[in-house]
Amino acid sequence: MIEEVGTTELGELVVNLGPQHPSTHGVLHLVITLSGETIKKVEPHLGYIHRSIEKMCESLSYRQFIYVTSRMDYLSSHINNHGCALCVEKGMQIEVPPRAKVIRVLMDELTRLASHQLWWGAMAMDVGALTPFFHAFREREAINDIMEKTCGARLTMNYMCPGGVSFDLHPDFQKEVKAFLAFFRGKLDEYDELVTDNVIFQGRMEGVGYLSREAAISYGCSGPTARASDVSCDVRKLSPYEVYDQVRFEEVTGTGGDCFARYNVRMGEMRQSMAIIEQLIDNVPEGEFQAKTKAVLKLPKGEFYSKVETARGEFGVYIISEGATTPYRIKFRSPGFSNLSALDHMARGHKIGDLVAIMGTLDLVIPDIDR
């Protein structure tokens, strides 16, 4: 850091934000070059929670490695597991039973709701409103309870496995999800009244952290971050997996490209997730919840890539197999990593307080970036 101070121009100041700063939501370390209070440059320093998951996976079997991926984007653990299961199924050519497909989509959308709820609370807290955080956590708790009953876990689910899901839905699942939807619908309107329509909040969001369409594409952004810049990139629409081509939902996009646009895209996505759950909750087909698979999975020699839409964007799993029981090389394309690379571009010229707002709307999960 000392060298960097030496290279700055007269009057510029280098400030460390993190790795233990509350607004970075994890161990992200930003080195910010300031001129007065204006940001000249933001440089993320990563690796505080790097566990070399890709290396670990090289010595784990195709059933085991899925569990590690819950520890990457822990707020989208279902969807991470889903992506890995899809990739293994692609390689093994396993046909997933219809019941499992619907269960998977239901779980994915519940996860997306829970993740966006946490984001909403944390984001409001970042810009100075503490109350929404408690609202969001109260509602999120309901989803966690539903998850716990079926999956036995509240955060790292490990519920999806190659061929389907690990066990069947809890008998109360449908009833509880319907009760939750009825409860949460009113809450979303409350969210809007409490935060979205607040002029002070809008003042903090509008025109801050602008990301043009071209920049969003060039920086490889995905998920709500890119969609707020009018990039249509929803994997659920572009290359539908499971039953996403059979449900009616809209890809929420925005044209603003600023923090408020990103905020609105996520708020819209919550309503779309609820619509998907509503269509499926009474239509879970009867039958097997898991396809019959061999005890030891051996992917044929070759390369397999599958992608899913997590709450943060496009999550890719790239397996290179040499025909053994473990992958030769595995690569996880995490959405947060690419989204973070655009942070410097978005933050230049803004104030430190705005940087916190920009990071809030990027919805970063650090273990997902560090892997």
């Binding site: 790097h50 594409i217 560090d370």
Partner: protein, 151 residues
Amino acid sequence: MNPQELKEKLEALLPSPTFEEGGEWTTVFVDPATWAGSARLLRTTKELDLDYLFCVTAVDWKTHFTMVFHLSSTTHRHTLVVKIKLDHEHPEVATVSDIWRTAEFHEREAYDLMGVVFTGHPDLRRLFMTDDWNGWPLRKDYEDPVNMIKL
């Protein structure tokens, strides 16, 4: 563009491309010496318009390295996989961070974990590991008796 058209277009555009069959997407091998020019052609040619770089992977094959670039087009919706074979002793290839900005981070990751050097990269430093770290953790011959637990 469908895979066949994509292939024909690439044959006309790139210097001596070789294709790999069997993958989900069209896969082309590019010579490391021509990568910088080829990448620019892939990005700027109207019919291809490969503007979205979504995954960069370095693979250690013990005898050589392979860099894998997954590209897609947000206008035409086709996907292309570009592979570049690199020497194992001195893995070195030109950067594409000036063409796709996201490559700056992805190439730093490949450098940090695999030791692939990207010439012309604006800021080629370690990304995850500490600056004084020895060795390239994702390589197959990497040994670390302290931090690595063998199962």
